[in-house]
């Protein structure tokens, strides 16, 4: 199978991608998902370095599995085991990784813009696996993939992203991806976590749960990152659940066959009823599975388009 051409060696975010480029990733992911693993040695001999400066379970494992399936050598570095704890800067760590012969770096970092910073300094492809509250492009791509798989083309579909939007890179990347695919995206949640200024990006902003869920084709729930916020953003998790938590009763406001997404980790009983998270409408585990295929596609496109 041929790997299509990709205009840049990096994947820094969704905002700068065109619909055609998004489609290219999705199509390749679909092929890779259904191809026999024995034939997938596209990255044999390549070294992929996962540089994860923030805790991650799903994303890190999905990138590792994706690289291994493609027969690449994978090295995973976590902040605690790297020289960054000895005061080395991200720039120096990355220069060293490049000097050691990496073919691509997958970066998770708490600072927005850090993948862009690295891409200016080093030549090897940089894949953004989440930078602060800025972007999480691979998550958005796997969400679009899962949604298309479940509800078909997204053009004209109403999709609501509910929860902590302000601190969420998933929300931003998904907003860009879904709207580029033609969906009408509503960002919903408490006014302190979903400021009206998101309208400047072209989003519909709603602080009324019923209105935001009414006739939606899909709802994406985001975890309330209570460890990040001071108590000033909302009074308590209990109050959040009472006003904005998705439960069985409220899920009836959605379209009948609407799907429920969540990038994880889930706080059962906070943003979503436990029962609902395990219901037939939930596609949460499909997201995780598709995450591997999407990351395989990303690794192929970025790494193989790069010539040292």
């Amino acid at each position: 199978m041929g790997i299509p051409k990709w205009k840049t060696k990096n994947l820094l975010g969704i905002e700068s991608l065109s619909k055609i480029e998004i489609r290219k990733v999705l199509s390749l992911a679909k092929k890779l998902k259904h191809e026999s693993p024995e034939n997938q040695s596209y990255l044999a001999g390549k070294r992929i370095v996962n540089l994860f400066m923030e805790p991650s379970t799903r994303t890190r494992i999905a990138f590792e599995l994706a690289a291994k399936t493609l027969h690449a050598d994978v090295i995973s570095i976590a902040e605690k085991s790297s020289s960054l704890t000895k005061g080395e800067t991200l720039r120096d760590t990355a220069l060293n990784i490049q000097a050691l012969g990496a073919d691509a770096i997958v970066l998770r970092h708490s600072s927005p813009g850090s993948p862009l910073l690295l891409s200016r300094i080093i030549d090897v492809p940089i894949i953004n696996a989440g930078d602060g509250a800025h972007e999480h492009p691979s998550q958005a791509l796997l969400d679009v993939y899962t949604l298309e798989e479940k509800i078909g083309p997204l053009d004209g579909k109403k999709i609501t992203i509910l929860g902590d939007i302000l601190f969420s890179r998933v929300a931003r990347s998904n907003f860009w991806a879904l709207s580029k695919m033609g969906a009408k995206v509503t960002l919903a949640g408490p006014s302190t976590l979903v400021p009206k200024s998101f309208e400047s990006m072209g989003a519909i902003v709603s602080h009324d749960l019923k209105e935001s869920l009414a006739d939606a084709d899909a709802v994406m729930l985001l975890r309330i990152q209570h460890e990040r916020q001071s108590s000033s953003h909302f009074p308590s998790l209990e109050e959040y659940t009472r006003i904005f938590g998705l439960n069985k009763y409220r899920s009836k406001w959605l379209k009948n066959d609407a799907v429920i997404l969540h990038p994880g980790p889930i706080n059962r009983g906070v943003e979503i009823d436990s029962e609902l998270a395990d219901s037939a409408n939930s596609v949460i585990l499909d997201q995780v599975t598709n995450g591997v295929a999407i990351r395989m596609a990303i690794l192929c496109l970025c790494t193989l388009s790069y010539n040292k």
């Binding site: 991200l90 927005p112 910073l117 930078d131 972007e135 400021p195 400047s200």
Partner: protein, 423 residues
């Protein structure tokens, strides 16, 4: 010693609001009357603009020793190249000037290395940590010209209020960089659409405006002066305008960076555009320019803040803010203000020389007979390109690298002595 006569130039004196073609005589360190001139050396400055040396109210150098970055020596050479004859050093120094002994030590360094006037400010609170008043009277006796905790501001209203009241007893100016940290501590950019999109923590206008109002209320109730440093929000301009109309003794300055740039510049996470307060929106920029022109804002301060290259070359939220600006402040201000219908050179020099010298009560801002001979010669037609690595400053953190300008300072006289190698 010879009298020097600058002949054929356009002499601008903001203190007398005069702008005329005439000769300017100075002998030793003073400007003299032509009739007192003896043994005169004539210097032809035809086509050039001659004005009093600039005065800066907000210069930072962080580390007195400079390390491999800015020190007093390089900073004052950069200032002279930019047309300054006096700069006021903010107290975020190492060592920190919150006691008379340290002030004496820093002043000795200044005496040794400075080629222009460097005036020192003292901390308003001990260690600038906002907890307890610094010994303001002793600091004044040790020679500080103002007190401030810039680039932070005491968060405790009681401390700030008492500091202003106590300092007024010594007629010691108080400078405040208005910032409510509870609203802006994680703020790395203006709290607007661009920071929201980029995922950067916001530093909202209200974080500044609440503290502008605090300074106004304190100044009004105590009937004493407070100077606000580096105003950035349009709401602050409104508040100051109203206060001045009511006779409150509040003064304010703005940086050239905020006159020239807006938040859109940070879209590439270029840390050279990271400033405190942050670059804001076009509406703010327009208000700041109008605020200068209608007298709401008194002066332009460089907010010179050198940062080592490797310190800036990090993640945006981890990078220190600051712009090295002494060498470009005059050109940037000229570029931004000269398009305004009310622009005159007299105005510009009020903003950059006369008003700042009045606010901290140092000599300068005029070219009258008997004034100190701090004089700048500016060639309005000279085109040049600013390359930070070729400049006098040892710091390169500028958003204006490779900018092309019309007009250049070609000589700065400090106390009658020409600075060397400016051009």
């Amino acid at each position: 010693m010879k009298t020097i006569c600058l002949t054929g130039g356009r002499i601008i004196d903001p203190s007398t609001e005069s702008d005329e073609k005439r000769d300017l005589y100075f002998y030793d360190n003073k400007i003299i009357s032509p009739k007192d001139a003896k043994n005169t050396e004539f210097i032809d400055v035809t086509g050039k603009i001659v004005f009093p040396g600039l005065v800066d109210l907000s210069c930072h150098i962080n580390d007195l020793s400079g390390g491999n970055c800015e020190n007093i020596f390089s900073m004052t050479r950069a200032a002279a190249a930019g047309g300054y004859s006096t700069v006021v050093l903010m107290p975020n120094l190492n060592p920190i000037p919150d006691n008379p002994a340290t002030i004496q030590f820093i002043n000795e360094q200044i005496k040794k290395d400075a080629c222009i006037n460097v005036k020192l400010t003292g901390c308003l609170t001990k260690g600038s940590n906002g907890k307890a008043l610094a010994p303001l009277g002793s600091l004044k006796n040790a020679g500080v010209v103002a007190i401030t905790d810039s680039p932070t501001s005491p968060q405790d209203n009681q401390i700030f209020c008492k500091a202003v009241e106590y300092a007024s007893m010594f007629d010691l100016p108080v400078i405040d960089l208005p910032r409510d940290l509870s609203l802006s501590e994680e703020g790395n950019a203006h709290d607007g659409p661009i920071a929201l999109k980029m995922g950067l923590g916001g530093y909202p206008r209200i974080a500044e405006e609440l503290f502008v109002q605090r300074a106004i209320s304190i100044s009004r109730s105590l009937k004493t002066k407070v100077h606000l440093s580096s105003i950035s929000s349009f709401g602050s301009v409104d508040l100051i305008k109203d206060a001045k109309n009511k006779g409150v003794m509040i003064t304010a300055d703005v940086s050239p960076q905020h006159l020239a740039l807006t938040e859109s510049k940070i879209l590439n996470y270029d840390t050279n555009f990271k400033t405190t307060p942050p670059l804001r929106e076009e509406v703010d920029r327009k208000f700041l320019i109008d605020g200068l022109m209608n007298g709401t804002i008194d002066c332009i301060s460089s907010s010179h803040e050198p940062v080592k290259e490797y310190e800036k070359n990090v993640e945006y939220d981890l990078a220190p803010s600051g712009v090295t600006s002494l060498e470009t402040a005059l050109n940037i201000s000229l570029q931004q203000l000269s398009k305004h219908p009310k622009f005159t050179w007299i105005n510009l020099l009020k903003f950059m020389s006369l008003r700042p010298s009045e606010i901290i009560k140092v000599e300068g801002g005029g070219l009258g007979v008997g004034s100190i001979a701090n004089i700048v010669i500016f060639d309005p037609l000279k085109k040049w390109k600013y390359c930070s690595k070729e400049g006098k400053s040892r710091a390169f953190n500028t958003p204006f690298n490779n900018s092309e300008f019309s007009g250049k300072v070609i000589q700065t006289y400090f106390k009658g002595k020409a600075s060397q190698n400016i051009t």
